[in-house]
Amino acid sequence: MEKLSGGDMLIRALQDEGVEYVFGYPGGAVLHIYDALFKQNRIQHVLVRHEQAATHMADGYARSTGRPGVVFVTSGPGATNAVTGIATAYMDSIPMVVLSGQVQSHLIGTDSFQETDMVGISRPVVKHSFLVRSASELPETIKKAFFIATSGRPGPVVIDVPKDVTSPTELYDYDYPETVSMRSYSPATKGHTGQVKKAIKMLMSCERPMIYSGGGVVQGNAATQLTEMTRMLGFPITNTLMGLGAYPGTDKQFLGMLGMHGTFEANNAMHHCDLLLAIGARFDDRITNTVSKFCPYAEIIHIDIDPASISKTVNADVPIVGPVDAVLDEMNRLLAPEIAKRSDNQKSLLAEWWEQIEGWRRQDCLKVLRDEGDTKIKPQEAVQALYKATKGDAYVTSDVGQHQMFAALYYPFDEGRKWINSGGLGTMGFGLPAAMGAQIAHPDDLVVCITGEGSIQMNIQELSTCSQYGLPIKIVNLNNGSLGMVKQWQDMIYEGRHSHSYMESLPDFVKLVESYGHVGFKVETIDELEPVLNEAMAIRNKLVFVDVLVDPSEHVYPMLVAPNGSMRDMWLRKGVRT
């Protein structure tokens, strides 16, 4: 058997796992690993400027490909810097393996230099974690980590590696296991057929159906199955913020996003439906509004890989635990003959329901209103113009705030994995590094980061990494000169007291990006918008930053009325509610 040092073994195991990229930053505790990395060229390492960005890059890589993202950080500050990105991945169920250096085994617990209890500090935000005790454990631990991160409900896994474990002086037998099995971990591989049949009966006998699907369909690679089912049934469908693209956003059956900033038609259809088919979605509080008023007329079928997501906040009448792709495959098989037998009465009931929905749709809740002679750019229009300039075909990442909601509402996605945002944790600073990860995974595709002047400054140092690796991403900064989403809440709830929600000292973004060797544009009026965006998107080999000065007074609407509102209670415009 081959003999390798711990450090070499670690790198070899990643190679054997098929890892192509590692996002990381070196330091004392990982020097042996970095030396092993230096001696090979199968795995490419991307040197970031801050460890948080490494985790978001790995995350963007994972979201855009479905393959796990891999991160190296050193002990202590390297590890703690990674925590926000790990938590971000955890909340959105993204497969990721983070290898953190740890001080030497004999120093653990002595408050030694750059020691921090990484397993402890990350515990609430990982799917699982390992502290490696000896180099001989490395191959199996790494295999397990990847298996856990990518199977069942995916999530981040931390492997904490004490420095002595990777020492170059001691050699061990290397043998990478092909599979691992754990008696305590066996995610479901198919749904319960009895439950599936019950669900089919309900789908064929309801009057006002609604399909509500989430990030689980994107991450579970079931967009095709979902689309097939929805088309076959002819039912209305909505996607969560995390699920956008799983069903084509430009299709007529799609009612738009639902929830806090969901469309009038999607939220109303949720409220009035008599059967809710929830797929890979978790009834988040940003969806349901007041739980006791959620879907008052509906029976609920809930398909999810994670049993703990079922009946957590909203009771499911028919729970189906299983991987969404396998469950939907089975349902589609059983549904086809049933749909062929659908009675005229059933068909006309569905048509009536659609009529009601079309009535809501005629509200045209996303219509952009502008005053005669106003030359200011509305942020919604900026997203619409970007959609045109990219032919609706870009990978789009976003940060967190108003711009995120405008992106979600005004850029319809026709495919899963094209829309990448931090929905669960809502991490400002996610957008740029996530775009970098997506661009590295898809070097020939257009990757755009829609951001705000607040969020972009939370990881702006990565412009330097973009120079180093020649990443031609496009950054569209919807610059409203304020922490817009915070300001919106202050306008609506705190009588316009803008407590610390604006910044007086923004940089000149054009000069800033130019200093890194990138291209910058600034757009201030509506007639410049389309030409500049077209020009920017046409520059394929360079990073382009477009600073779009948008109307700072815009709010995101619709917006659910809280507290105590149901899903049909919405603000539609400033001062106008249902």
């Binding site: 397993v119 402890g120 515990r123 609430p124 799917k127 699982h128 974690s129 502290l131 856990i148 754990m182 008696r183 305590s184 971990y185 994670d306 049993p307 703990a308 009946s311 957590k312």
Partner: protein
């Protein structure tokens, strides 16, 4: 409602902290907790008591099951079960109190396991209620120190929790 949840888990470093962490993180309470390796030394058996509604206990068991190191678990309070807790109690035992204390201990089937001129240490096993009752039965002022093991338990009959 009071629940007794019994968990079979990998006997590995970190497993216990994950269980405890889960309870803290998700705002569930832990009343008592005991843990020790089983006859199979790769496994530990952890028993905890908590107060939870039906919905809460469903979430607790689902979340516990999600922990990679948890092999199996059961809510013992769902069925017929046996529960025991051990209490060691050091009491003042002087003069007339000495005989009285012994009599009370006998009634509760307690054993005096350490004796000095002025004090007894009594060992008592039983349900938590019984241990509480003993504490109420002796004069409060006589209690010097109490240590309780927390509840452990298993199902009645032939039902077992195993891999």
């Amino acid at each position: 409602m009071r629940r007794i949840i019994s968990v079979l888990m990998e006997n590995e470093a970190g497993a216990l902290s994950r269980v405890i962490g889960l309870f803290a993180q998700r705002n569930y309470n832990i009343e008592t907790l005991t843990v020790a390796p089983t006859e199979d030394e790769t496994l530990s058996r952890l028993t905890l008591t908590t107060f939870a509604s039906d919905e809460q206990v469903e979430q607790i068991t689902k979340q516990l099951n999600k922990l990679i190191e948890v092999v199996k678990l059961v809510d013992l309070t769902e069925g017929d079960h046996i529960e025991r807790e051990l209490m060691l109690i050091k009491v003042k035992a002087t003069g007339a109190q000495r005989a009285e204390m012994k009599r009370t201990a006998d009634i509760f089937r307690g054993q005096i396991i350490d004796v000095t001129q002025n004090a007894y240490t009594i060992q008592l096993a039983g349900t938590s209620d019984k241990l509480d009752a003993f504490l109420r039965a002796i004069p409060e002022a006589s209690v010097m120190e109490v240590v309780r093991s927390g509840v452990s338990g298993l199902s009645r009959g032939e039902k077992v929790l195993s891999t």
